[in-house]
């Protein structure tokens, strides 16, 4: 260890992993349906993609977690985003690629990706 910059590099690298271990209640919650139906439809790669992307972009008040079946099994994998004000957006038929766009547009820039939502899909 020769400089503070070196120390900081280690800190930044390790921080994301440790930050997950705090209750982030005030922030945005991202819920991935991980019941049998969700897993069968491919929810796990979606979940992994979301976690990786959130960590890469260092979004500290976003919590990505799993949830059970919400009853619309035909639309799985389902991802729900609950904003700090309580607004809920339901994204359906998700894939890992779509997940990246949700992170970029919705979580970072606060623009709902309309074409992935359940409303758009049902029309």
């Amino acid at each position: 260890m020769k400089s503070l910059a070196e120390l900081k590099a280690i800190r930044d690298r390790a921080k994301a992993a440790v930050n997950v271990r705090e209750n982030s209640e005030a922030g945005t919650r991202v819920l991935v349906g991980m019941a049998t139906c969700g897993i069968a439809a491919g929810a796990r790669p979606v979940l992994t993609a979301l976690v990786d992307e959130v960590a890469k972009r260092q979004l500290p008040d976003v919590m990505v977690t799993q949830t059970g079946c919400i009853g619309i099994c035909q639309y799985e994998p389902v991802v729900e985003v609950v904003d700090p004000d309580g607004t809920k957006t339901t994204y359906v038929k998700m894939t890992a690629e779509k997940a990246l766009r949700v992170v970029n547009d919705h979580l970072v820039n606060h623009n709902v990706v309309k074409e992935y939502t359940i409303g758009a899909y049902q029309q």
Binding site: L7, I10, R21, N23, L31, M34, L50, V51, Q66
Partner: protein
Amino acid sequence: MFRSNVLVCGGTGCTSSHSDKIMERMKEEIAAQGLDKEVNVVQTGCFGLCALGPIMIVYPEGAFYSRVTVDDVPEIVSEHLLKGRIVRRLLYQETVVDEQNTKSLNETKFYEKQMRLALRNCGVINPEVIDEYIALDGYQALGTILTEKIPPQQVIQTMLDSGLRGRGGAGFPTGRKWSMAAANQADQKYVCCNADEGDPGAFMDRSILEGDPHSVIEAMTIAGYAIGATQGYIYIRAEYPIAVKRLQIAIGQAREYGLLGKNIFDSGFDFDIEIRLGAGAFVCGEETALMTSIEGKRGEPHVRPPFPALKGLFEKPTVLNNVETYANIPQIMLKGAEWFRSIGTEKSPGTKVFALGGKINNTGLVEVPMGTTLREVVEDIGGGIPGGHKFKAAQTGGPSGGCIPASLIDTPIDYDSLIAIGSMMGSGGLIVMDETTCMVDIAKFFLEFTVDESCGKCTPCRVGTRRLLEILDKITSGNGTLEDIDRLEELCYYIKENSLCGLGQTAPNPVLSTLRYFRDEYIAHVTEHRCPAGACKALTNYVIDPEKCKGCTLCARNCPVGAITGTVKNPHVIDTSKCIKCGVCQSKCKFNAIEKK
């Protein structure tokens, strides 16, 4: 990147209830479900709520599982980690709000009033991974001091300004210790860490070393820089194998990163640390005895002055601080003396860790700001006394301390308030007692300990404590006289004034403080041959009430010494000459027919 972190407590408390096996099984199950790239299993230090161990927390949800068994693991993995359904039956009940909701751990009574500074990383990071300590600003204080070339005097000034006092018990200002050692010129100086935690019931130092060893290493390095030392020693008892192992790992990792060794942060400052294992003698927690033991000699104290700051280890100026004291220092350096002074009371800034034990619901480790009242610690954080019993007294400071009676339960806990009421902070053991505890018996318990642990070098302690114990023995067996109580008190003061080191000087404290607040109990033992708490076996008898006894024979069948006789459906009788007063009959009787008199 892991989506979930499973934190399993790896402190000594939870390890003794097999948290290591739980962790192993967890890893197997996670691998079997193919989740090993998504879920991280982390072994951490103590969470504090030892009464509910083994403990596991799953993040990001923050689900707090208590009393987990190996058999619960598959359910947690398949339900919670795979499908996101929290296993509600295993949740710590305090965190459950209703069917759907749980509240965060910090909102529970146990954690709400706590403030974790020394324990801030315990139960959060993996103590065997240096990166996790660095992630939470670890080594930042050391790095800033060394790279910005902050002069040692300024580091010492920060310590002085912070008002941090030694957490080992005596409460000597840490900054003063440092400035004295810095002022003494020598070719070699030393920094030592006292991890020889020996008070019965105290385990905060162990938990810090098990949960956050790097904080101690960083602080010792800062101390080395401040006083001009290049070598540090951690004196730790061999009975703490997990703490020793984690320290060794931590020292190894710090050396690898160049945070110990030559030319740290390219500043030209060298510092290294070695571990010395103690064989478990209580007296080696005394500073002069500890340093004699590090030197490889028999661990016996010697006269002060000269104080260690002038002539300590190997006759060189030495700074010796306690583990908990060190654990506070990196934070103080980072956040400043003002920040530290804003916590706690004016004369005792900061927090103190207590090991809660005895007759209390939430046995475990708690950290509160100085000035918190004993009532808050016992009733709110500790969750009160189990079995509907009443609070009688609390013992602080272990064998060197005294007791605080129920009438003083609103005393704020800080160094000076405790001394004013005849107790002391001590290292932080806090033993709660209810009305079934006999105060004479408690004094005897601590005296038995000091008699065993007296090193024998000076007569007042070696012989005096033994005589104290003999008198207490006489009183608890019902053979004492009122003169015995007076002699007991006189001898206490004699030992206090004439002993060589802290062990002897404080050994009579448990007797003196129980005499001060519970003299009536001593007198009852002597004049009425009665133990008011019903704890002294020689003075109590078990008696069967013939009116209530149905002659079910249950007591007679369970008596281990065959002291109970009687025929079926007729009242039974206890032969007091055979009875060993174990109380089994009373606990077995379904008709409440057996009384303790």
